[in-house]
């Protein structure tokens, strides 16, 4: 920071800097600006404005050159991101292409990224299940990672706070493992899903089938109308960006809300190279940003910095923020930064058919499915593996295959008969964070902005394999019990990462010797830096994690604001 232009410093100084505009960064932006703080939101990708920048949102199927499918050139050039279910002709422009942002896979890891304003909040699966104390107490009870520094009671009011604004549909199921929230009316289970729910309830006390709690506005409240959002229309084309704002994304909700306060400066195409640390004040003073277009570096300053760059990139920024005080990365006295990263095991599926309800079908395209909360090892350890899994569950009817040739075929296509009900489940398994699972910086290779490439070194372990086996057994048994037939299990063997639930590396904990963040998501060693995205997660549990990031973020901004007021 040699010849500082003081006028430049003043122009580049804000109350708060938020790195990233995805699901958690959007919340940080909303909270700070609403409370009157001048906030700079830095996004490494281009801007995506709600409605205006959803180029495919109203396209009809026949308007896509390949009717949604990927070309072989795109698949060949993008072996990683092509594996993602949502990377298709209608939404591929919202995903990072493999060659644009390389990384090093020490072991196979499919890193799926969305570099744009809104990040992956445009693309997420919108499942929003709360954690309970069965999750927060997991590491302490089962002796892995470190104890979470918070419990359900600490986050519960913040779950309520973010749910009301975001709009979460769900049923009050009264299940201890999956606390109820501030729900809009639930979506509907279909005939076979409802039948399975009743079957399972009649046999098990501790296993439940529910409709997923999902970030869709089923009945808009005033707060949603105020955001310019309307009721979900069951288009199930969410990944294109929703013209109704029917599902929650930063683009439709928190970012325009923050903009309206007049307190937000949103700066796209700005990749954060590092956080600037000042030894005299023992604080971070700002960030060093590289313009992704002209590659010029600029420094910006603020009293508080929120790092919401998405789990692994948040690790990267902190690891790259070195100083004489922190030669191994900001706040990294204990050497644990980047370690104990984890993910969710999504490898297993169970498919089957059901012969009943032949005279019934569902109608429309529900952007949601059934959900089976974790039932393994909840009250006590009962299996040979640690922790457990949640599962998705859904049923649908496809049309009978149209056979033959000529008029027979034509008639079958134009007057399709529904085939048998298909049922399907997929696992969402908790993985145990381990020191060996880690991310680090390459010592020589850099990206085109001079930032070191990320090394990712993550793998499944025996616990994951044993859990997968149990999932297959239990769900197959539940399916057989319900009279489902032709039950088939399938292990995709997909690499970690494709779950898009990577977490950890900057974990929360009570003890600075064994964790990076305290109970308020502040770096133990540099208290005006907060990390509230997936990087902060001490353990992964089984729930889709975004709702928890939102709640932790709103809670942390509240703490940051109270702290700033106290310190004047």
């Amino acid at each position: 920071m040699g010849n500082l232009n003081l006028k430049g410093v003043k122009e580049n100084t804000y109350d708060a800097i938020v790195i990233g505009s995805g699901i958690s960064g959007g919340w940080a932006a909303k909270e700070f600006t609403e409370k009157g703080y001048k906030t700079l939101v830095l996004e490494r990708g281009p801007d995506v404005k709600h409605l205006k920048d959803y180029p495919t949102t109203n396209m009809m199927p026949w308007e896509f050159e390949h009717r949604g499918q990927l070309t072989s050139d795109i698949i060949d050039a993008n072996p990683v991101v092509s594996k993602c279910y949502a990377f298709r002709e209608d939404a591929m422009h919202f995903f990072v292409k493999d060659n644009d942002h390389p990384y090093v896979q020490d072991k196979p890891f499919d890193w799926i990224r969305g570099y744009q304003v809104g990040g992956k909040s445009l693309l997420w699966a919108r499942q929003t299940q709360r954690w309970s104390d069965y999750d927060f107490e997991g590491p302490a009870r089962d002796g892995f990672a470190v104890d979470w520094p918070i419990r359900y009671k600490d986050i519960a009011p913040w779950y309520s706070y973010v749910e009301k604004f975001a709009g979460i549909s769900g049923n009050k199921d009264g299940i201890a493992t999956l606390p109820d929230g501030e729900f809009l009316p639930p979506m509907e289970l279909n005939c076979v899903e409802q039948y399975f729910k009743e079957k399972v309830a009649s046999r098990y006390n501790d296993r439940h089938i529910i409709i997923g709690r999902a970030a869709h506005i089923t009945t808009p409240q005033q707060i949603h109308l105020d955001q310019g959002r309307a009721q979900c229309q069951n288009r199930n084309l969410c990944q294109r960006g929703c013209p109704f704002g029917g599902y929650f994304s930063s683009n439709s909700s928190t970012i325009p809300w923050a903009l309206k306060t007049g307190n937000m400066t949103l700066q796209p195409n700005s990749v954060v190279e590092s956080i600037i640390y000042d030894e005299k004040s023992n604080k971070a003073t700002g960030v060093r940003v590289i313009d992704t277009v002209n590659k010029k570096a600029t420094e910006y300053f603020a009293s508080v910095i929120f790092v919401n760059a998405a789990a692994l990139n948040t690790n990267l920024i902190l690891l790259n923020s070195t100083s004489s005080r922190f030669p191994n990365g900001l706040g990294n006295d204990n050497g644990l930064l980047g370690k104990y990263v984890a993910f969710h095991n999504y490898r297993g599926r169970v498919n089957a058919e059901y012969d009943g309800f032949k005279d019934k079908n569902s109608e429309g395209r529900r952007p949601n499915s059934g959900y089976i909360p974790r039932f393994r090892n909840v009250l006590k350890q009962e299996t040979g593996f640690l922790r457990g899994y949640a599962a998705g569950f859904g049923a649908w009817r496809s049309n009978q295959p149209a056979n033959g040739w000529g008029n027979e075929l034509k008639s079958a296509l134009l007057n399709p008969e529904p085939g048998p009900w298909q049922v399907n489940s997929h696992i969402m398994g908790e993985t145990i964070p381990k020191e060996a699972n880690r991310v680090s910086l390459d010592s020589s290779k850099k990206d085109e902005w001079g930032i070191p490439l990320m090394h990712i070194d993550m793998a499944y372990d025996n616990n994951d394999e044993d859990m997968l086996k149990d999932y297959f057994e239990q769900v197959s048994e539940m399916f057989a019990d319900a009279g489902f037939t032709n039950i088939k299990t399938q292990d995709s063997k997909q690499a970690p990462g494709l779950d898009i639930h990577e977490m950890g590396g900057v974990r929360m904990g009570r003890d600075p010797k064994t964790s990076l963040l305290n109970e308020w998501n502040q770096l133990h060693q540099c208290k005006n830096v907060y990390v509230t995205d997936g990087a902060c997660m001490t353990s992964t549990s089984t729930q889709n994690p975004s709702l928890t990031y939102m709640a932790l973020t709103a809670r942390a901004v509240d703490h940051a604001v109270r702290t700033m007021k106290k310190e004047g």
């Binding site: 199927p61 429309g364 040739w405």
Partner: protein, 179 residues
């Protein structure tokens, strides 16, 4: 022209408008630009006749009238890997040779029954029959292109971009089909 033929003719014209740019036949020239596979104008004519045999015209246009044979070519060109493309082109040539042996370049429009029994025959899988390597994916793509065409998705099996409601359990009717 009887009434039935007249209606058929009018429907085709209506359907044809959407496909006009890609369906205009030029002498010795393909109707679409292909980047990877090589197809001759004769082969295109054969594909047209095949697509209309797979899904024939009647009260509504056939698959080829809606350009499904060209869509199939585009998909083979853009989305198939090289091995699949080679298999497709080899099988198409085999189909051509088979027809030529019987003194024809295309499937004759007049004999509906003859066409179908021919299709059934050449689609039989056997070690020395290369035709299924072409005809299986072509049939699949013609069906895909036809069902996902604007004409079918607006006039015959309407697609709802905005369904509005979801109903989890309703009696089976023709309107509950998935589109």
């Amino acid at each position: 022209m009887n009434r039935r033929d007249l209606i058929r003719h009018m429907v085709w014209m209506g359907a044809g408008i959407a496909f006009l740019p890609s369906c205009v036949y030029k002498q010795d020239q393909l109707s679409i630009q292909l980047k990877k596979i090589q197809i001759t104008p004769d082969q295109e004519k054969l594909l047209f006749s095949l697509a209309n045999a797979i899904i024939p015209p009647g009260d509504s246009p056939g698959a080829a009238d809606l350009g499904a044979h060209l869509f199939a070519l585009k998909m083979v060109d853009d989305c198939f890997n090289r091995e699949e493309q080679e298999k497709f082109v080899r099988g198409l040539k085999a189909m051509q040779e088979y027809l030529r042996k019987n003194g024809a370049d295309v499937l004759d429009e007049k004999e509906e029954e003859g066409k179908l029994s021919l299709l059934k025959k050449v689609s039989q899988k056997s070690d020395n029959n290369e035709i299924p390597g072409f005809l299986d994916p072509f049939r699949r793509l013609v069906v895909f292109g036809y069902t996902q065409s604007e004409y079918v998705m607006t006039k015959l099996v309407p697609y709802k971009l905005i369904p509005g409601k979801y109903h989890g359990c309703v009696p089976v009717t023709t309107s509950t089909i998935k589109s």
